[in-house]
């Protein structure tokens, strides 16, 4: 069965610090990968996605993620975080062969950015 593991459950950073959130998945075939963000009081929003091609993908608000197939990883990065990045971040995977499109989510990482 597919699964997604996010190693950091709660991260606290100061503004301007760099961010890297880990995400590993278990699935042997082709995958689509996603990072979603949930700001306080808001619904889940897509940050970025990887389907194919360049393994380094850029998303909104300065976020990027790198797909490393050999490591089954899709880590999220941002060079300099802002207070407004305080949110919960979810990594998700979808089997590329899926005809239902269901997403398997990690348990999430809560990011707290101190001003």
């Amino acid at each position: 069965a597919q699964s997604v593991s996010q190693h950091n459950h709660h991260v606290i950073l100061s503004e301007a610090a760099s961010l890297e959130l880990g995400c590993n998945y278990s699935y042997g075939g082709t995958v689509n990968l996603f990072w979603y963000v949930q700001y306080p009081g808001q619904h889940l929003q897509l940050l970025l996605k990887y389907f194919s091609g360049d393994p380094l993908v850029k998303g909104i608000k300065g976020f990027e993620a790198e797909f490393i197939k050999s490591k089954f990883s899709f880590n999220l990065r941002k060079p300099s975080v802002q207070w407004s990045d305080t949110a919960e971040y979810f990594c998700a995977v979808r089997a590329g062969s899926s005809n239902t499109g269901k997403l398997i989510f990690g348990q999430g990482t809560t990011l707290q950015v101190k001003p």
Partner: protein, 114 residues
């Protein structure tokens, strides 16, 4: 344009009551998903519709859970004889097509069973 909407936003039910949760997807979106998100966890897949057809219900935790989308637009998730373990946020998502497009999530319905 309007996003995915869900109602009610909050629902408190006494154990044993039946509840119905509604999802209005983005207009024109063929695919509709329901997820359950327990406190401190990521969303977990419940079921998937393509138009009015329920193509995957592998995530429904028991036969107390039932979902429908009779006209291929609005969907209802019904939970019969609610139990305390059903307390969670129920998320609805829609997409233009299942396999190749991103899913847009609604705000969720927070169900508390007392």
């Amino acid at each position: 344009g309007a996003g995915v909407s869900q109602s009610p936003r909050y629902k408190v039910a006494k154990r044993g009551q039946d509840v119905a949760l509604r999802c209005d997807p983005i207009s024109g979106h063929v695919s509709l998903f329901w997820y359950q998100q327990a406190l401190g966890q990521g969303p977990e897949f419940l079921t998937y519709f393509q138009n009015e057809a329920q193509l995957d219900k592998s995530g429904l935790p028991s036969d107390r859970f039932f979902a429908e989308r009779p006209e291929g637009s609005v969907s209802t998730l019904k939970i019969q004889r609610t139990q305390q373990e059903d307390s969670a946020v129920y998320l609805c998502a829609s997409s233009f097509a299942a396999a190749t497009y991103e899913q847009y999530f609604g705000p969720g319905t927070r169900l508390t069973v007392t």
